[in-house]
């Protein structure tokens, strides 16, 4: 027990040599990589498999496709098999027809010579290959781009509105001395106690009364003001020296100009952090869009994905492809911005 704890607490490798506790730490971290990335990697790899391959149990890790060959006299490429027994054992043949347990095959170099074999004499010739048919089918058969547009529209608009509204409030609360400042701050703190999840019914009433039910704006507007955003920005703006503002006032700049020409550019780092957070929240938002959006036309990617899995319990091929496409933007954000996200989240304590 004590040695376990020493593993967890030692902070330094000794004399440049790795202690066994270091090995144990790296083992833990390696297991962490497997556990955190593994499931997603498995999903992505699976999404490039053919439906037949997906049905296979036990599954193989890499996607395989059956080898095909163009044979004279046949318009479509034919599937290639190896014959396992009989006269032709060991030879590659192309299958022309299959009915029950009987198959008709030809040798690729002698297309006119039809040979009949039992299917258990044939073994498919396969190679590792990534199929994109799950994706192309998704684009053809489902209104994927509609969902993508809806999600993007909501994310972009909500983020822009949120940044503007919250930074205006943060500016007022950090750079002006006025009566009522403390009550307003307290009021904003109080909203921390009212997460969306506990006011769903009244929000629904308000949104329907404003005619925003089943509209993208009904998703965008109710979440535009966030206490987290105001606090994050205010914390940053407080550190901007007042002298800059005074100098601008001397030059007859209006307060609005001071806000957007001076304060906003100077708060860029904090705004960037909040923007990343907002994009993440909105892109991944689930419960509120689920309530507000009722028509398929208006679904976001998340809602579409959710309703998809209900409708087509077994349509894994398209479902996998759509899941991958939904997580793609977030994965990109992660790769390029993970450092900023981490610091941003650590400094705000989440939502």
């Amino acid at each position: 027990m004590a040695s376990l704890w020493s593993m967890l607490t030692a902070t330094r490798g000794r004399n440049g040599r790795l202690h066994w506790t270091d090995w144990a730490s790296y083992a833990y971290l390696t297991f962490g990589i497997l556990l955190m990335f593994g499931p997603v990697v498995w999903l992505v790899v699976s999404s490039f498999k053919t439906p037949n391959e997906l049905d296979r149990f036990p599954p193989r890790f890499l996607p395989y496709v059956q080898e095909t060959v163009e044979v004279e006299g046949f318009s479509d490429p034919l599937q290639v098999y190896t014959v396992t027994e009989g006269d032709l054992a060991g030879e590659h043949v192309a299958q022309t027809r299959r009915a029950g347990t009987r198959a008709e095959v030809v040798r690729p170099d002698a297309p006119d010579d039809r040979i009949r074999l039992r299917t258990d004499q044939l073994q498919a010739v396969e190679r590792v290959g990534f199929t994109t048919s799950n994706y192309t089918e998704l684009f053809e058969r489902f209104t994927f781009f509609r969902y993508l547009f809806n999600s993007t529209f909501i994310t972009v608009m909500a983020t822009l509105i949120m940044l503007l509204v919250n930074s205006m409030a943060a500016f007022a609360l950090s750079k002006y001395e006025f009566r009522g400042r403390t009550p307003v701050l307290l009021l904003i703190i109080a909203t921390l106690m009212i997460p969306q999840t506990v006011v769903l019914v009244p929000l629904y009433l308000l949104v329907t009364q404003m005619g925003l039910y089943n509209s993208l704006w009904g998703v965008i507007i109710p979440g535009a003001a966030t206490p987290t955003g105001v606090f994050l920005l205010r914390q940053y703006m407080v550190t901007i020296p007042d002298e800059i503002l005074d100098a601008a006032r001397m030059d007859k700049a209006s307060e609005w100009k001071i806000f957007w020409r001076i304060i906003l550019p100077l708060s860029a780092p904090a705004i960037a952090v909040l923007a990343i957070l907002a994009i993440m929240w909105r892109w991944n938002d689930f419960l509120w869009p689920l309530i507000v959006l009722s028509e398929n036309e208006k679904f976001t990617l998340q809602i579409a994905l959710f309703s998809f899995q209900g409708e087509f319990q077994t349509n894994w091929p398209n479902l996998l492809a759509m899941t991958v496409l939904t997580l793609l933007p977030i994965a990109c954000v992660f790769m390029f911005l993970q450092k900023y996200i981490a610091t941003g989240i650590a400094s705000t304590g989440g939502k």
Partner: protein, 343 residues
Amino acid sequence: MLRVITPVMNLIEIPFRGAQRMLGVPLIAWVFLVPNILLFGLFAFLPVILNFVYGLTGGTNVLLADRPYIGAQNFNYLLSCDNHFDPNTCRDDKFWRAVYNTTLFVTLQVGFMIAFALTTALILNRDIRARGFFRSVFFFPVLLSPVVVALVWKWILQREGILNAFLDWLNQTWLIAALSGVTTALGGEALDVRGISWITDADWAFFWSVFISVWAHMGFYTLILLAGLQAIPRDVYEAATMDGASAWRTLRRITLPLLAPTMLVVLILALIKGVQTFDEVYAFTGGGPGTATTFIIQYIYEEGFAGQPRLYGLSAAASILLAVVLVVLTAIQLWLNRRSVDG
């Protein structure tokens, strides 16, 4: 981008100049505050009041004018039980089932999550190569959407999924036979690990809900705990080493006590979020099988928006009860924040 924004901003400036001339400089602050306060008022404070109106009225109409006043009936309906520890004796057994599920879920989820997050943070706080990389590895699932998290694991756990394939393979090795021998020797049943339906078996569904939730959110708490660990001054450890303190003692007497404030913040945050768990579990199991993984938010959602008839009053009453819990937890959280700022 700037070319689009500049004219918009210039346009907003015109009314602002007028307001500034009328109000003077300090009071213009209110103009900056108006949009935010309006949104908060309309979408946070007004709903709180309306929530009570809904909670005290009945019927299935969403318009307040058409809803008859029924007093505390909704609350009575939710709260009346012959025996509060047995959901079957409650008038609204689904609500109590959800309450119990949520309580059990939060206990397990928060417990395991903090245990794993602390372990991970302690390891990352060691002299580890590529710490930034490993930190983001554990953080990666936090960014995934709840629906994606649910589907990623559903794909692994489905009946013919990779986990069952792995167990099938394991079953052919000596390991399972040996374990099976132990269980039968102890008077239990032989171990059968083949073809388990992880999602349609009530206990397994609950287990995996906890697991997935820990998997998805652990990185966030690891991050906060790691920041807390790195804020502990190095010289405290050096002094401990000089005094010949063992690693175990250092952890007990220095690291954990100094980390306690961060731990408390993490605990409260995790509780606040845990109580509101809905998205990933709903996408994963749909609350089932039966009501095995139905939590409070799902109850609120289904009574108000998914069921027929739509019982807005019941839904609002349940969310008021949930809000009471959240207000207490958030108040503790704010108090902790304030204390850490003052201290």
